[in-house]
């Protein structure tokens, strides 16, 4: 298949793409590398853990031949914070805070998934309003995460202004989240069985206004980069993660959809009210950096659709489950009655008991399948709190895909994988 054919399939209805006279290839063969001027003078280069292209603190040790990576291995664990161990030593209520620090670009999704997994263990049903707010939160977080990912990917490859567009829109989204819970990045918004606070008056309308503005900005960003010749040359055909590799390495999320696998947990295994939502799951074919970029851009648009649908359907109502075990006592009860004060004290000091059982609860996080495998043996803390971060499995593909690439292309590949050190190392 020639590059031109590939391009036309890649571009998915986008007609602004110019006719590219691209050179063949993208994957460079080591044996026929034109840059191999030095004969056998191969060197080992240590990239990271503080290299600007290694997001967070990743490290790649590569044996390079000229500019080409011949063989490499990856090291991580430079931000290991023992969250799984803390899950066994903190109460379920306290652990909400630690879930923020998993994928910190989309902390709300982690909060919601964690709350869902504990509620599932306890058989708690949260009221409709709480579910709708959680859905809006998830999609807001998805938009933010994708904006950061494509923005930083573009910065790594030299397109700086694109990044500024995205970050401005992200700041506006953070203002909305601040109105919701008072924090920007590490939200800790959900509680087991409810939410920290109800959305303020008129918040849904502000979200809808933001959605309108963001649609315009996304179109602008698209116009800026999607048809850009330099961007296309740097990304099309580079860093191909094909369907076979994705399945073998348990890759999920936009990366697997860019490889042509039609798989999205929001649609295929719907939780919350996703089965009532109308949205498309964007698919691309080649699984290169450009496809992952396109899938993310389209997912931003779909998320905006979901947000506006949620804002239309959300109604007033309670945000706490009607369950004495998990409900944080109201402040007027705490301040005015003895029983309320004792309840409050017991709730925060010893935590609530979760009945014995185990469950693996997943949700489609912006990066892929986020899962909490919680084993409870009764008591206020988990026996085992396993966090399945998508980045852990994605990062494993870096070595097989990048061997044979130029170092500069590896940077683009890594940016498009969206490895978040927080959920990689946990």
């Amino acid at each position: 298949m020639s590059i031109d054919q590939k391009t036309s399939e890649n571009i998915m209805k986008n007609e602004r793409l110019p006719d590219l006279g691209l050179p063949q290839g993208g994957h460079y063969s080591v044996d026929h590398d034109p840059d191999d001027l030095w004969g056998d003078s191969r060197v080992i280069v240590n990239i990271g853990p503080t290299h600007p292209a290694m997001h967070g603190a990743l490290r790649m040790v590569a044996k390079i031949n000229g500019e080409t990576i011949e063989k490499s291995y990856c090291e991580f664990g430079y931000t290991h914070r023992a969250k799984e161990k803390l899950g066994e030593n903190r109460t379920y209520h306290q652990f909400v805070v630690y879930t923020d620090r998993l994928n910190y670009c989309s902390a709300l999704v982690n909060n919601v998934t964690y709350a869902m997994s504990v509620e599932r263990l306890m058989g708690v049903q949260v009221p409709d309003r709480a579910v709708w707010i959680r859905m809006i939160c998830c999609e807001l977080a998805r938009v933010i995460d994708h904006l950061i990912c494509v923005g930083i990917n573009a910065v790594d490859l030299g397109a700086f202004s694109f990044f500024l567009y995205g970050f401005h829109q992200r700041e506006e989204a953070y203002t909305l989240i601040e109105k919701l819970c008072g924090a920007r990045l590490t939200t800790s918004y959900t509680r087991i069985g409810g939410l920290m606070a109800d959305a303020p008056e008129g918040w849904e309308k502000q979200v809808k206004d933001w959605v309108k503005r963001t649609r315009v900005v996304i179109d602008e960003m698209d116009a800026l980069l999607t048809g850009n010749k330099i961007w296309c040359q740097r990304t099309i055909g580079v860093g191909i993660m094909d369907a076979k590799l994705c399945q073998a390495y348990s890759v999920t999320g936009p990366a697997v959809r860019a490889a042509g696998l039609n798989y999205d947990l929001r649609r295929d295994q719907p939780s919350m009210f996703y089965k009532d939502m109308e949205f498309d799951v964007p698919i691309a074919q080649n699984g290169d950096v450009f496809d992952r970029y396109l899938v993310r851009m389209e997912e931003i648009r779909q998320s905006l659709n979901i947000i506006s649908q949620c804002c239309d359907r959300i109604k007033k109502g309670p945000i706490w489950a009607d369950d004495k075990r998990v409900r944080i006592p109201e402040k007027d009860v705490v301040h005015n009655t003895m029983e309320g004060l004792i309840h409050h004290f017991k709730f925060f000091m010893t935590g609530f008991e979760v009945p014995p059982g185990e469950a693996y609860t997943t949700f489609e996080a912006p990066n892929g399948e986020l899962g909490f495998y919680i084993v409870s043996k009764g008591g206020p803390a988990a026996h085992r709190m396993r966090i399945r971060g998508p980045s852990f499995y994605h990062f494993q593909t870096l070595t097989p895909v990048s061997d044979g690439l130029k170092i500069a292309d590896m940077v683009g590949l890594l940016g498009s994988m969206n490895i978040i050190a927080g959920e990689l190392d946990r």
Binding site: H80, K85, R120, V124, A248, P355, Y360, T361, T362
Partner: protein
């Protein structure tokens, strides 16, 4: 109210959807592998969301390979590989969370093991198991037989002990004066 109370907004329909399928699959497994299937825990009967199939360590790769490839199963996606420390003999359970992308049903396969006995590696079925098994080794000290590269992954190579074991203290700090060195042997040097 526990895990057996279905919650509609959190996958509450899983048991109705897949209950029959799971029963059938477990039946097939028991017929085919006999003694290798040590124990099966079903939802409702035990406190779990999906069936837990305990398999003998020696036969685990056969069972997983059958579940991955056979037409009635097709659990081709290794969602997660981890372990738990049970504090009683046999000490560790290695946990495989599997997903079938065709039917979207999940099952959990467990293997009982301890510090001495190694579990066969699943890399031949899923290359994804490579790092997951390294993490289990790093955190729990469970060895995997046939693993090509069983090194520490999250902790420094000089770290002593396995942090997620229940007897490892939460604040068992260890300090190293120098950064972790490059290992040229991993690059065929």
């Amino acid at each position: 109210m526990d895990i057996n109370t279905p919650v509609p907004t959190i996958y509450g329909d899983q048991l109705e959807k897949f209950g029959e399928l799971w029963k059938k699959q477990v039946q097939t497994l028991k017929e085919k592998f006999g003694d290798a299937i040590e124990e099966v825990l079903f939802p409702k009967e035990a406190n779990t969301d999906v069936p837990i199939i305990f398999v003998q360590a020696a036969r685990i790769i056969d069972v997983l390979g059958f579940m991955k490839n056979d037409a009635g199963f097709e659990y081709g996606f290794l969602a997660d590989l981890t372990a738990t420390d049970e504090e009683s003999a046999p000490r560790f359970h290695v946990v495989y969370n599997l997903l079938s992308r065709k039917s979207m049903s999940r099952v959990r396969v467990k293997v009982r093991t301890d510090e001495e006995n190694a579990v066969p590696t699943a890399i031949s079925l899923w290359p994804a198991a490579n790092w997951a098994e390294r993490e289990v080794w790093d955190m729990f000290g469970v060895r995997f037989e046939g693993h090509p590269d069983l090194r520490r992954i999250l902790m420094d190579v000089r770290w002593e002990g396995h942090p997620l074991r229940k007897d490892y203290p939460l604040r068992g700090y260890q300090i190293f004066p120098t950064p972790e060195a490059i290992d040229p042997s991993l690059l065929n040097y």
